[in-house]
């Protein structure tokens, strides 16, 4: 999942980026409203964390312009303004959530996860595909035999495929949502990650979960429609 952080405080911006990156997100971070708007328009982020008080262009103006330009990414507003009217103003301007500074990083992370899930129409934090359970909150994959040892990057690929279950996800889509702007993406990076996931799932007794659509991308079928399920029903 790829996030954009727009925050003028260097320390807060870097800490958030560090924490979210360590949590498996691809993170782009900018310091002012103009840059934030430019980044948000250029890339379809899974979530934008937007400070309200920003130099150049304030957060609410960024949000307003972004929404008017058709931007659909969920937006989490961060603000030192804590009054009800400020929250209402932010939410009415098109934000999906509003978090008042100071906050616990765990709360921000939980809200980021929830917003990412909801934007994909997934209400539950854990997704089950046959014998596999992808716990988006704990950021781990589990089978009946235990935890599947995926790397953060591999889990991010699996998470994106799970959240888009039933839809063919192209390599470009995966690259855009898994890697941040500063990351050098090798041509076979996604394929390598998919291979790694398949190998580790296979070792856990799960095969055929991720289907390859030649020339199009990858697909995980929704629960009950996977080949494994179909075989089981047959």
């Amino acid at each position: 999942m790829r996030l954009l952080i727009v925050e003028d405080s260097t320390r807060l911006r870097e800490s958030l980026a560090d924490g979210l990156t360590s949590s498996g997100y691809a993170v782009d971070a900018v310091a002012d409203g103009q840059q934030g708007l430019a980044y948000a328009r250029a890339t379809e982020y899974d979530l934008i964390v937007l400070d309200v008080m920003l130099p150049e262009l304030d957060g609410l103006s960024v949000l307003d312009r972004f929404r008017k330009a058709g931007g659909r990414s969920p937006v989490l507003l961060l603000s030192a303004r804590d009054r009800v009217e400020h929250r209402v103003e932010g939410l009415r301007a098109g934000a999906d959530d509003y978090l008042v500074k100071p906050f616990a990083f765990a709360e921000l992370l939980a809200r980021v996860e929830a917003l990412c899930r909801r934007s994909r129409g997934v209400p539950a934090p854990a997704l089950r595909f046959g014998a596999l359970e992808a716990d988006l909150a704990a950021r781990e994959a589990r089978t009946l035999s235990g935890r599947v040892p995926l790397t953060p990057r591999e889990f991010a690929v699996l998470e994106f495929l799970c959240l888009n279950a039933g839809r063919v996800v192209s390599r470009a889509d995966l690259e855009e949502h898994i890697y941040d702007a500063n990351h050098q993406v090798w041509s076979n990076a996604v394929d390598g990650a998919i291979a790694g996931i398949r190998k580790k799932l296979g070792a856990a007794g799960i095969t055929g979960l991720i289907e390859t659509r030649r020339g199009s991308g990858y697909l995980i079928r929704p629960p009950g429609e996977s080949r494994a399920d179909q075989k089981a029903r047959a």
Binding site: R11, S15, S22, L78, F105, A106
Partner: protein
């Protein structure tokens, strides 16, 4: 604690009692004089009657009264005699100690009164009337008499006068006491009634909240006397509300200012605790120390602002002439030393003075100058700072003009607001937006006016003084 009712009762009753005593004494004295005068008049009338009964148509002179001359018969004592001291007739109780006024040179018809005592010791009034023996105008000339000078003396008991006087005094005393009691009751009730508006005022003040006014709460219950008090209370409420609002805004601003550094601190520590890698932890500790320093700097700036509005606790040296202060502060100014490069011009009257404490004046001038120097571009880009010291009839004025500045007229009006920063400075933690607030607080505390006006060609003029 004093009570208005008790105080009014004491004063009004005291006044009434005092007036009663003075009036009572006056009445008693006048009554005494009046009663004595009436008594004397009665004695004089009796004496003249007795004098008319003395005839000298025949020798010897006769007193033609044939009844007993005792006090029980006449009601007074009488003695009739000639000017040479011969007693013609006298009451048997006539006191021997009364003496004989014979030989006194008084014209016929004249009289005089004396205080005396009867033989049995009663206080009495004695009248000595000089007259002449009566004659018969119709008698032949040889029988008309010789107009012999006579002295008629009458002594009347003063007891009736004293009794009447005592009765009057008793009546006055009783009347005064009843009057005092009536005055007490009337004053008690009257003061109670007069204090009702105060009770209503108290109820109104109890009822009002910080947003309302006594005037509205009291409505038609206010009196002419209460109106100025209500006005003063409402003005006080308005001032209090403004002060509370200012404090509330200040607290809110401080909380707002603290939110971002605390958010930084929490995120740093949360992330470092969740992924405890040595490099991340080392970085977090370093940044946490920076945040602590910035928060301390904020705290010191807030305290400086709070102290700027306080009156000096002890007498301090007055600022005196402004121009030398400006020059010395400008020389020492950090901004000036760091070579901002704006063209800086100082002009003004060397005699212009401020009477505010020197320490406060120095902080005010330093903050003004550093703010101007900080936000003025270098001279190469047209930046300039002009400092003018202008003498005034009451108080000198210090004007600091700088430009070109990136402010709107509305933003210029916000320059004295605590924590307000132009957008370009908002992310800079070294600028708290308190420098000009401190200037404003010092100016307000010492009765100096202040203004910040954006002029043509993006020139900002901040003026402090009168």
């Amino acid at each position: 604690m004093t009570s208005i009712r008790a105080s009014l009762l004491t004063w009004i009753l005291g006044g009434v009692a005092g007036a009663q005593v003075v009036a009572g004494v006056a009445i008693a004295v006048i009554a005494q004089a009046g009663l004595t005068s009436l008594h004397d008049a009665a004695l004089l009338a009796r004496a003249r009657t007795f004098a008319s009964l003395v005839t000298d148509e025949h020798d010897p002179i006769e007193f033609d009264y044939y009844g007993p001359l005792g006090e029980s018969n006449l009601g007074v004592l009488v003695r009739v005699g000639t000017a040479d001291g011969t007693v013609i007739a006298a009451s048997p109780e006539w006191p021997e100690t009364a003496g004989n006024p014979a030989g006194t040179r008084l014209a016929p018809g004249e009289h005089r009164f004396l205080d005396t005592r009867t033989a049995d010791g009663r206080v009495a009034r004695r009248l000595v009337l000089y007259s002449t023996a009566s004659t018969d105008p119709e008698a032949p000339p040889e029988d008309r008499g010789r107009n012999t000078p006579i002295i008629v003396e009458v002594i009347g008991d003063s007891a009736p006068v004293a009794r009447a006087h005592r009765a009057l005094l008793v009546a006055l005393g009783l009347g005064g006491a009843i009057g005092l009691i009536a005055a007490f009751v009337a004053i008690w009730l009257g003061v109670g009634r007069a204090l009702v508006p105060l009770a209503r005022l108290r109820d109104a003040v109890d009822r009002i909240d910080p947003e309302s006014r006594v005037q509205g709460a009291l409505g038609s219950a206010q009196t002419v006397e209460l109106r100025p008090i209500v006005g003063a209370l409402d003005a006080l409420l308005a001032r209090l509300k403004a002060a509370v609002d200012r404090e509330r805004r200040m607290t809110s601003s401080i909380a707002h200012e603290l939110r971002t550094p605390i958010a930084e601190l929490r995120t740093l520590t949360d992330v470092a605790a969740r992924w405890p890698e040595p490099e991340r932890q080392r970085r977090a500790v370093g940044q946490a120390a920076d945040i602590a320093r910035e928060m301390q700097s904020l705290l010191e700036a807030v305290l400086a602002l709070a102290r700027a509005g306080e009156p000096a606790s002890s007498p301090q040296e007055a600022a005196g002439e402004i121009l030398p202060l400006v020059v010395s502060i400008l020389e020492r100014s950090q901004a000036a030393r760091s070579g901002v490069g704006a063209l800086c011009v100082i002009s003004g009257d060397e005699s212009a003075r401020w009477d505010i404490p020197k320490g406060a004046a120095q902080i005010l001038i330093r903050n003004l100058l550093e703010n101007a120097l900080e936000y003025t571009p270098p001279a190469a880009q047209g930046g300039f700072v002009a400092i003018r010291v202008i003498p005034g009839a009451v108080c000198a004025r210090l004007e600091v003009e700088n430009g070109p500045v990136s402010l709107t007229p509305e933003q210029a009006g916000l320059l004295f607001e605590p924590f307000w920063r132009a957008d370009e400075a908002r992310s800079d933690r070294n600028h708290r937006g308190l420098g000009l607030s401190i200037v404003a607080a010092i100016a307000d505390a010492h009765g100096l006016t202040r203004s910040a006006v954006l002029m043509a060609h993006r020139r900002l003029v901040i003026s402090i003084g009168m």
